[in-house]
Amino acid sequence: MSARLGLAVSIALTHVRSRARQTLVGVLGVATGVGFSVMMAALMEGSQRDFITQLVDALPHILVSDERRHPSPQPAEEAYDAAAIQGLTTKAIRPGIKNPFAMMSAISGWVDGAVAPSVQAKAVVRFAGRDRTASVIGIDPKREGEVSKLPTQIRQGTLADLYRASNAIILGDGLAGKIGARVGNVVSVTGGTGQVLLCTVVAFSHTGVASADDSQAYVLVKTAQILAGQTGLVNEIRVKAQDVMAAREIAARIEAETGYKSVSWQEAHEDLLSAFEIRNLIMYMVVGAILLVASFGTYNIISTITHEKTRDIAIMKSLGLTERLVRTIFVLEGLVIGLIGTALGFALGLGLSLAMGQVAIKSPFMDATHLPIYYSPLHYALAGAVALSASLVAAYLPARKAASLQPVDIIRGAS
């Protein structure tokens, strides 16, 4: 360290030490700003990541359905340059995916992940005189565990229990509760075509999302096909990619290669992701405002010190200290306040985050859980960088003014 910088540091440290109370207030201001910013960022990003994780885990990363984004061209449209078609009606039954198992093999060949078929059928589930409409999903229990968290959400049984009975069914626990069915009971399931199956309840599913648990039931693919009245029907292929963020590109390729509508989780929740961007913008603005307010405290303190030290500044300049050196002294004071405040703020932020992580939340739609907190060094780095920059700017402004004082004006006044 050069002698001049050493001098600036020693004067700066002496000033902040001799004004312990003011320094403490400034430090606490910065620490509070940094601490709450870090906690807010951890909470906001934690909740966002938790939400996305739940979203991604609850649904397959990519859903290939037996639909097409654009209606198939009619023969007349292909034969003529212009054709008007009226009274066209769509088929009443779902067409299903052609050669679904061949397509699944093809997808498995290049996608790093897992693929599973599913059949969607609407049905009415009846037991003991009570009935409820349900989405009956036909699955392959062996593959389902690779594309969803369903096996971990099964209660009082396992997914493999679907093989146990000829028409086995797993009911959402909410749905089971509403009709009063228990494991081992036989419920009547009526498909959209009027086909009635007597199914044995082998387990319950519990996703934690009330709307799903109140209306979903799982059966084998073949059972769902019978309910839909379409043998061999597979109307959805679910894909789980190892790289979650690559889902959009994989979906685009599947769609390009197969022609079937292929929706990634990002596309399915585009509106939510946009909302997150707006939420993040708001978060950064609030965090910035907190740190800005903290910097006002630093400005106030450095202003006060420079005001109180006007005579000292004059005498230092009269002795031959340059404007730059005098300015450096007061900028260093702001830096010291900023550094100590930032360090304390990191500890405060970590403490607040840990405390917030212990807070339990209950929701009628979700299981009781704790506030999700995401710990990221980036939050600390950003809050620290903004706090230090704000402290430096807050100190520089009064320091510049103080350093430009003409010593003779002060000395004349004091003499």
């Binding site: 050069s2 002698a3 001049r4 050493g6 001098l7 020693s10 004067i11 002496t14 000033h15 001799s18 005579r311 000292d312 005498i315 230092m316 300049k317 009269s318 002795l319 031959g320 200290l321 340059t322 404007e323 730059r324 050196l325 003409q406 010593p407 003779v408 000395i411 004349r412 004091a414 003499s415």
Partner: protein, 231 residues
């Protein structure tokens, strides 16, 4: 006058503009040679302190020029003028103007650290030697509020001498001191001239003190009206 002037003022003028314009100094010519003890006297408000500030590069003249060791200074950038003050000029004011949070030694070290020519140990040794030469060896680690008025002023003199300047400029250095302290300070200043061949320029109201200087200039209404004595 002995040798080449350390400081020379030529047709020096200082006018304050603004709501109430005032002429502080006008047409001042003055030279300060090595080994000179010069006293500037005059009534209150006559402009004697203003003249000292101009000679010491603390203020800029509106007319004329101040030469330090033959170098014109009025057009130099502020940092260059600050460097000349730091290296070649020493200041003592009526009020000691010591930094209150620092010890006597730290105050003396301040100009040396700003100049940065000596090592830390050499600075401390010189600082202690300077304080010792002014009878303050026992007070080096005390802060200004633990010293008497005379002791503070002697610390201020030690600080002014820290970078071994050729010229010491003092504005009413004994103005706030009792008779005993005044004599002590005067004796120190006298020794700087006689033993060390420095130039000392003081502004004082005390005509008896001024009479003991080698030269006197009297300032009235911003003009040097009278010069007496010979070095």
């Amino acid at each position: 006058m002995n040798g080449t002037p350390l400081i020379r003022a030529e047709n020096l003028g200082r006018v304050i503009t603004g709501e109430v314009p005032a002429t502080l100094i006008t047409g001042a010519d003055l030279a300060v040679a090595p080994g000179t003890f010069l006293a500037i006297t005059g009534p209150s408000g006559s402009g004697k302190s203003s003249l000292l500030y101009l000679l010491g590069l603390l203020d800029l003249p509106t007319t004329g020029e101040v030469y330090v060791e033959g170098r014109a200074t009025s057009r130099l950038p502020e940092d260059a003028r600050a460097a000349i003050r730091l290296e070649k000029l020493g200041f003592v004011f009526q009020f000691h103007f010591l930094l209150p949070e620092f010890t006597a030694l730290e105050n003396v070290l301040l100009p040396m650290r700003a100049l940065g020519r000596l090592t830390g140990a050499a600075m401390e040794a010189r600082g202690l030697a300077l304080l010792g030469s002014l009878g303050l060896e026992a007070h080096a680690r005390k802060r200004p509020d633990q010293l008497s008025g005379g002791q503070r002023q002697r610390v201020a003199i030690a600080r002014a001498l820290a970078n071994d300047p050729a010229v010491l400029l003092a504005d009413e250095p004994t103005g706030n001191l009792d008779t005993h302290s005044t004599e002590q300070v005067f004796a120190i200043l006298r020794r700087l001239v006689d033993a060390e061949k420095r130039a000392v320029v003081i502004v004082t109201h005390d005509l008896a003190l001024a009479a003991r200087a080698d030269r006197q200039v009297r300032v009235v209404d911003g003009r040097i009206v009278d010069e007496a004595g010979q070095a």
